[in-house]
Amino acid sequence: MNRPNDYSAYPDAKGRFGDYGGQYVPETLMPLVHDLDAAYAAAKADEGFQAELGGLLKHYVGRPSPLYFAERLTAHYGGAKIYLKREELNHTGSHKINNCIGQILLARRMGKTRIIAETGAGQHGVATATVCARFDLPCVVYMGAVDVERQKPNVFRMNLLGAEVRPVTSGSATLKDAMNEALRDWVTNVHDTYYLIGSAAGMHPYPVMVRDFQSVIGREVRDQILEAEGRLPDALVACVGGGSNAIGLFHPFLNDPEVKIFGVEAAGEGVETGRHAAAINGGRPGVLHGNLTYLLQDREGQITEAHSISAGLDYPGIGPEHSFLHDVGRAKYLTATDQEALDAFVLLSEKEGILPAIESAHALARLPEVVKEVGKDGIVVLNLSGRGDKDVATVAAHLGRQI
């Protein structure tokens, strides 16, 4: 595929990024996704909506988040300057809240009275429960039973915020099954329910809508790096589960060819072992959850289980725009194993006094290669998508420590 000149032209009216994306959903949901598409287009163009969104991002979320020069990490690698975009400092501790604020305002505009969501790590569930508390809307969060176990603190946080967490036992009992269950709920409760998807994935218009809400990350980085360095960065790095924190950082730079772009997928025990969550590096295009995109699947097209230490990356697919950016060569998708992420988790904690989310630690794990690629005078911006407090039990278990 040829590289386009203008990435802002995607998706097309049918929700396609090149071949990827679309609306592969049961007929019952088609009128709903069309309604959502129209409602979002109207909201996007409405200054009042944008002003309310901007106000909440500033005063409730705490934006802009800092762009922090990681001096000791830079010295550790001895090359390019490393900046961290501090999304972990947002209210609720990750980038997920940016999208939730946008979508809850939209849900209210559409007159919806009940919110549902899926969650993996629980970060999106917490962010959704938070905005539901703030706007006084009932909230049901679907979460794989396996994830309920490994992210207990977040389950309790959601409960405190007034949300009902429904453990999902079907399939592999992780994020993909939580998403199936949320879709089943939506098909059943078509009149009052708004499905607040947590990543730039699923059927159109979610990938473009979530991207737009998360693009505040990249827009801020642009201003901040120009102020700090007087020029654009040489490389951007982010972890990719469904791909929302990554596309939020990348999108405002897609039309700047001098900026190299790196997404990092979860390699679990290693892509070669088959136990991983690397849709692009270890999968093929297929249809799941309403869109055509790279997926983990067997020869027949049955979806296979993803494996990652990180519940937030433990998903067999990836947002369709990433599949497109991969095919046209605009972004490069690397991988990091569970062990590499753990090492990076510890390194950042010790060098910078910041506990990164285990998801974000996957991006940190590829810094040696990215730093090398851009050279000594280079500038790298890494999206620190979330904080690691939720992961201390997992990390302790892997380090063989009791807490």
């Binding site: 007929e27 009128p31 098909v187 297929g286 055509l292």
Partner: protein, 277 residues
């Protein structure tokens, strides 16, 4: 060829003045051999058309009964090739009962849309329902099925307004499936008073027979729906029989067929003594 089989069956039923009974069974549940035995015996037990599910790992529109049914079939090794083989064997003895495959897009995509349309036709399949392929995404599939002479069966739902209905019934043939409840399979119950005007609407928009499914479990419900629709589809209640028979160590085939017989009987007797139009 294949479309003709569906049209001929509905024409014959119209002459008889009754609705069709359409059991849904999952290919490969609980295993390939038993599922083939059930399939072969369905017409004799009263099936006028057959819906045959092909199992997918992530069936987003199914409730727990059909989800579990698909999982049993996959665990027992069923593949899409296996499904086509099953139909081919069925066709050696039955050339008149239409078979409609029902499942999800990813498997068809991996087979190759055109190749699948050809191979399905060659196996003796008459129609295809792809639950997660709405008209917006279906043009390539519709072209391939047209060329192969297989009907693309479309779903209409309580959320389909008149404008949407017009979009849905374009390029459809055979019959139209009315999903009688907003929801997944096997959970909510269909109400014939709500269904009747919808069936009339879909019939008027499409000029085709209308099958109703997604919320019908008992002979009483089946009879009630048979009074207002051209065909009655029962799925979850049948796969539940499979599950229970497996659990109780009973004869799966006999349990499913006995349920099919009672449902078919209810559908056949529904319009007795009633004026049919």
């Amino acid at each position: 060829m294949s479309k003709a089989r569906i049209d001929a069956r509905f024409a014959a039923l119209k002459a008889e003045g009754r609705a069709a009974f359409v059991p849904y069974v999952m290919a490969g549940d609980p295993d390939a051999a038993i599922a083939a035995k059930i399939l072969a015996a369905l017409p004799e037990a009263g099936a006028d058309l057959i819906e045959l599910g092909f199992p997918f790992s992530d069936p987003m529109a199914e409730g727990p009964p059909i989800q579990r049914s698909a999982q049993r079939a996959l665990a027992a090794g069923m593949t899409l090739q296996g499904v086509l083989d099953m139909v081919r064997v069925f066709r050696e003895r039955d050339q008149t009962t239409p078979i409609i495959l029902m499942g999800y897009m990813n498997l068809v995509l991996h087979w190759g849309i055109e190749a699948f349309a050809r191979d399905a036709a060659a196996a003796g399949i008459d129609g295809l329902i792809v639950v997660d392929c709405p008209p917006e995404e279906a043009e390539p599939l519709a072209d391939a099925l047209d060329a192969a002479g297989v009907s693309l069966i479309r779903l209409t739902t309580p959320t389909s307004d008149d404008k949407r209905l017009a979009t849905i019934v374009r390029r459809t043939s055979g019959f139209v499936y009315y999903v009688s409840v907003a929801g997944v399979t096997g959970v909510k119950e269909a109400d014939e008073k709500a269904v009747a005007p919808q069936v009339a609407r879909v019939r008027a928009a499409s000029g085709l027979p209308v099958a109703v499914g997604f919320g019908i479990r008992t002979p009483e419900r089946a009879a009630a729906i048979a009074r207002v629709a051209d065909a009655v589809v029962v799925g979850s209640a049948l796969v539940d029989e499979v599950a229970e028979a497996v659990e109780m160590n009973e004869d799966v085939t006999e349990r499913v067929l006995s349920k099919v017989r009672s449902l078919a009987k209810a559908v056949r007797s529904a319009r007795v003594g009633q004026l049919t139009s």
